[in-house]
Symmetry: C2
Subunit: 428 residues, 2 copies
Amino acid sequence: MKPIKVGLLGLGTVGTGVVRIVEGHQEDLASQVGSPIQIGKVLVKDVSKSRSIHVPDHLLTENAWDIIDDPEIDVVVEVMGGIEPTKEYIMEALDRGKHVVTANKDLIALHGREIKAKAKEKRCDVFYEASVAGGIPIIRTLMEGFSSDRITKIMGIVNGTTNYILSKMSQEGAGYEEVLQEAQQLGYAEADPTSDVEGLDAARKMAILATLGFHADVSLEDVEVRGISRIKKEDIAFAKKLGYEMKLLGIAERQDDQISVVVQPTMVSTAHPLASVNGVFNAVYVYGEAVGETMFYGPGAGEMPTATSIVADLVAVIKNMKLGVNGQRALTPYKEKKLKSDEQIAYKNFILLHVEDKAGVLAQITQVFAEYDVSLDSVVQQPNPNNPDAEIIIITHYASRANMNKVFEHFEQLSVIKSIKSAYRVEG
Amino acid sequence: MKPIKVGLLGLGTVGTGVVRIVEGHQEDLASQVGSPIQIGKVLVKDVSKSRSIHVPDHLLTENAWDIIDDPEIDVVVEVMGGIEPTKEYIMEALDRGKHVVTANKDLIALHGREIKAKAKEKRCDVFYEASVAGGIPIIRTLMEGFSSDRITKIMGIVNGTTNYILSKMSQEGAGYEEVLQEAQQLGYAEADPTSDVEGLDAARKMAILATLGFHADVSLEDVEVRGISRIKKEDIAFAKKLGYEMKLLGIAERQDDQISVVVQPTMVSTAHPLASVNGVFNAVYVYGEAVGETMFYGPGAGEMPTATSIVADLVAVIKNMKLGVNGQRALTPYKEKKLKSDEQIAYKNFILLHVEDKAGVLAQITQVFAEYDVSLDSVVQQPNPNNPDAEIIIITHYASRANMNKVFEHFEQLSVIKSIKSAYRVEG
C-alpha cells in the first residue's frame, strides 16, 4: 500500500511530538487508515542542530518550498507558528492541493476565514483541533458531537499559563509577580508573558470556539479582553472566603442570535465544575439548550497532548482522502454575526469598595444601585483592619453592563467612596 | 431539496426528545446537512394514546414493518429498547439499505458485532452515541478525537441512578435502602432497580467503551461486575474520613494489549476529577499514553440530552449520505482480545477488619500481607466504639488480585480476625 506522505513545517516541541506519535504508533495508525503514514520532509531552521529525536538528514530542509512544491507530499502539518511566512506557506500548499493540519490559533483566529475559503475552493481539508485546548478534542465536539443542539454558552479555561498562576496564588496565598516569576522559571510562562497574562491567547481561542459553536464569523476584534496582571492576592482571598475561585475565563454567550465574547478574570463558584480545574490543565464548559451542562477537561498544551490532536486530525484527513471527500465536512458559518450591546450583556458582579466609616454610607451606596435598577444578592460591610475606612463587599444579581457602568460612573462622584478596589464578574 | 425521511421506532421519553429537536432545530439542521429532515413515520404501542407532543395521526403506526418496508424512509432511529423484536427490526432495516441510529446499549453490548457486520455488508451507518453516557459525545471522542493515541485506561461514572444514590449517601450520611426509595419516588431509579444497582447497566456501557478504546472485541461476559447494594453507610463515612468518595466506577485497563474491564464500587481520592461528579451526572475519564489525563462530563440520561446525541448521529448519517460514504467510517476491532489474569490485574485496596483487641494481632495481620508480597500504604488500628473488638483499616499499595485473594483466604483461617467488614478498590 502506498504510504501517505506528511510534510512537517517546524520541528520544535510539538513537531517532535508529532514525529514521535507517527513513528511510535505506526502500526495502530496504519490499521485505522489503511496505509502507512510517513514523515516525508521536515522544515527546520538549522539542519545541523542536534535534536532530542533522530530524523534522517535527508528528510530535513531549511527551505519550505522543498515541501510545498513536492508533489509526493499529501498533507502539510504546520507547527512552526507565527503569521508570516506561515500563512503564505499554508495558502500555497492548499493551492497545490495539499491538505493542512495546523496548531496555529493565531493564524486561524486572524485569517481562518480566508484559509478555509481557499481550502474549500481546492477541496482540501484544513483541520486545527490542536489550536484550542491542546489535547482536548473540543473542536470536534462542537462541530459534530453537538451538531444537533443550540449552544448558548461556552466558558473556557483555555490558557494554561494563567490558570497555573491563579491556582498557585489561590493555593499558596502568593502574589502575582512572585508566582509569575516561578512560572517563568518552570517554563510555564514565557520571558515576555504579555500574550498569556493579558488574555490575548485566550481571546484567539475563544474567537475560534465561538465561531464554531454559534455558526457565526466571530473575529478576534469582537472579543473583549482583560488579563490577570492586576489581580491582587487580596482579591483571591476575598473570593475564597465567599466560596469562589478566581479564574481567567473566556465566556462566549448567545441569546436569540445576539452574541458576546469576553475574556476576563471571573469569580467562579466552587460548586461549578470549572472551579476545580487547576494548574496548567484546561477545561471547556459548554451549555446547550437540549443537552444542558457539559464539560471537557484535559491538558491544554505540551508536546504529546498537542501532538495527539494533530495526529488525530491527520487520521481524519487520510480517512477523507481514502473516501475522496476532503474539503467537504467543514462548517461554514451560516448566521449573521450580531454582537450584543452593553444593554444586552448581563452578569453578576463582585465589587469591593473602600468607604468612609460613618453613618448613612451604606444607604447612599445601595441607593445608587437602586437608581440604575441593579438588584443586590449580598452586601457585607466590615471595618478595614489596615486603615480607618470601612470595606463594603457587594455581589449583585444579573445586571446589564450598561447599568453597571452607570453605577461605577456615579460612584466616582460620591465623596463617601474612597476607592473602587476591585470589580469582577461572577459565574456559577 | 428532497427531505431526508426518518422512521422512529418508539415514542417514549427519548423518542419525544428526538421529535422535539428535529422539529425545533429544523432550520439549523437543514443549514448543516443541506436538506430538511422529516419525521416520516413513528412506531408506537397504541396510536390512540394521548402524548405530550403532537405528532399527526397519519404518521403513527403500531406496525414496525410500515417503517422497515417503506422505501421512502432513509434512516431508522431506534429508541424502543429491548433485545427482541428490536434486533430483528434493525437487522431487517439494514438489509433494506436503511441507516440506523440507536440508543440501545443492551443491543450494542450484546449483538454489536453482528449488527455492525450487517451494516458494513450493506454499506450502511450504525451509530450509537446515545447508548453510553447520554449527552456526552464520548463515543466520537474515542473513535476520532483520540484516534492517534494509545488509550490505556477508561474510568467511567456511567450510571446516573447509582451515582445519585452514592452522592446522596455521602452528602447526607443516609443508608442505601432509604436513598434507593427516595430515588424511586423521584423517578431516578426504576421499580426493579436490579440492572442499575447491581452494575449490569454500567457493565454494558463499559463493554462498548472498551471495544472502541482498545480496538478489541470486548463483550459483556468479559466484564466483572459488583454492584452497590451492599455498601454500608459506615463504608462511605470511612471513605470520606480518609479523603475518598465512594463511586460505582467502570474501569477498563490495557497494558501491553492485555485487557481487564470491571464495574465495582471504588473509593476515589477527592483529588481525582471523578470524585466531584455528583447526582445523576455522568463522566468518563480517559487516560492516553500521549494525551495523558482527560475527562468528559455531562448529563448521562434524560429526554433532551439523550436526544441531542441521537440527532447528532442523524446529522452524521445524513452528511455521509450526501457524500456517498455511509458504512465506511466504522471502526472494526483489529486486535485480538487478551484478558488479564488475576496475577496481572493490580490495584490499591481498602480493607476494614474487625479483630480481637489483644497484643500481637496487628503483627499477625501485617505478616500475612508480607507473606503474599502485598505492601501497605497505611494501617490504622483503633478501638471499636460499639463492641469489644478493635477496627483495623488498611490501604495497600498496588497489589495483584491473585495475591489479594490469597490474603483474604488466609484471613479466613486467622482466629484473631472476627470479620472482614469491607473491602474496596481504591483509585486516584
